[in-house]
């Protein structure tokens, strides 16, 4: 289909600027795009008037402007995480037979944004759109640990196994970061064990967490390491596709 020339040239200018450490001058742009200085000048002026570039008052050279941050913030705030992650959840549930979830951090809680149900009769149901505490769920612990959030000082108890001592949780978080996955050993709901791993995006940002939940009878201690390895493998692959370098 048709390409709008002047818009295309503007976008090429932005691309050039992304790789120019000390900004660029009009003449350079004109050379790179093989256009006249006057055209380059007007294109840059247009970009600048919308905040996409900035002109240094002294050197007259152009750099990328602050508006870029608005856009990227918008992208980062609602990554198409869910779209990309859904096949991973399906795969997870298919391979493990347990319910898989995805959550992101939202207002200091774990917000469940997607789920694939286990085919088993005995299964864990979590409604999408609900929020869970961070300190006693596998997904929540991942979000807490890898976003390096401060440990809440009041930790509600849900079961006898819930960690309610902030200092203890702090140590627990160190361990979670070290091993790369988190567990919930009946700390939120009795009889339910969970496993989760972090999803990384661009610049190593932790976009969310993905994990599985199942009855303790099936999620035995013996199986946990193997399950964890499998989750980490799938989620790491997803992270790479999302632009993570790790």
């Amino acid at each position: 289909m048709a390409i709008i020339q002047s818009l295309a040239r503007g976008l090429e200018i932005l691309d050039l600027l992304a790789n120019a450490d000390n900004g660029m001058g009009i003449t350079e742009f004109a050379q790179h795009l093989d256009i006249d200085k006057s055209s380059a000048s007007r294109l840059l002026h247009t970009l600048a008037s919308y905040g996409y570039t900035e002109q240094d008052a002294d050197t007259r050279r152009y750099t990328l402007g602050p508006r870029i941050l608005t856009l990227s913030n918008s992208v980062l705030n609602r990554m198409p995480l869910r779209d990309h992650a859904r096949p991973v959840l399906a795969k997870l549930t298919h391979a493990t037979g347990e319910c898989s979830h995805m959550a992101i951090l939202s207002h200091g809680k774990a917000l469940y944004i997607d789920q694939v149900e286990s085919p088993s009769i005995l299964r864990v149901e979590t409604e999408i759109g609900t929020m869970s505490p961070l300190h006693c769920t596998a997904l929540g612990k991942i979000l807490l640990a890898f976003n390096r959030l401060p440990i809440p000082q009041t930790l509600n108890s849900y079961t006898p196994r819930t960690i309610t001592n902030p200092a203890e949780l702090e140590l627990h978080m160190v361990q979670v970061r070290k091993q790369g996955y988190a567990t919930d050993d009946e700390e939120h709901v009795l009889g339910v064990r969970c496993l989760a791993a972090p999803v990384y995006g661009f610049r190593g940002r932790v976009l969310g967490a993905i994990g599985i939940s199942g009855p303790s009878g099936r999620m035995t201690y013996e199986k946990l390491p193997e399950l964890a390895d499998y989750i980490i493998e799938l989620v790491t692959d997803l992270s790479h596709r999302l632009g993570s370098m790790q």
Copy 2:
């Protein structure tokens, strides 16, 4: 100077997309920009072919594309401050419950480069990448006072509380420098109070400002000193890590 129409329209499309949660369709773009569908279609196609937008294969709706992240990465690489400051913002918001921001000086304005939103329903939203005046915001006052910039002679009034007298603002700046923090007592937006403190770098350079904003109902006069102490403590710690000796 002359604005290149089709480039300008492309940039406006990006702006629209930054505020569209579920993407936008061609018809919507055409309506918003008051142009024909065909023109919108071609503009979007051009943006997509450069990776600035993405078209969902199913719904055909457009969203911001991954190229934006490349650009922002380039911008952020030249702002090392942001990486270090983010955890501080997270901590601030967690402790105070209010939205925290960071701003740097840019073209005589306060440029918001990062933000952590308040978990509260009633909260102050400031878009990253936008600029605010220096004389009537807490972050701006910090930048004005500690960079020892000349006081602008024309001070726009935003609320009845905005300081519009240069001489009065001059005295105010002396006070800000003396106490080490700045307040904005409904001087920019009615019902919103802010607190901010300076971030120092190597050789005592003021790199930027960090602060919180909240509704006056929660940010009461009684609480301000305590909040200010807390902000100064966090920001001073950050300054030391950034190489400040003060």
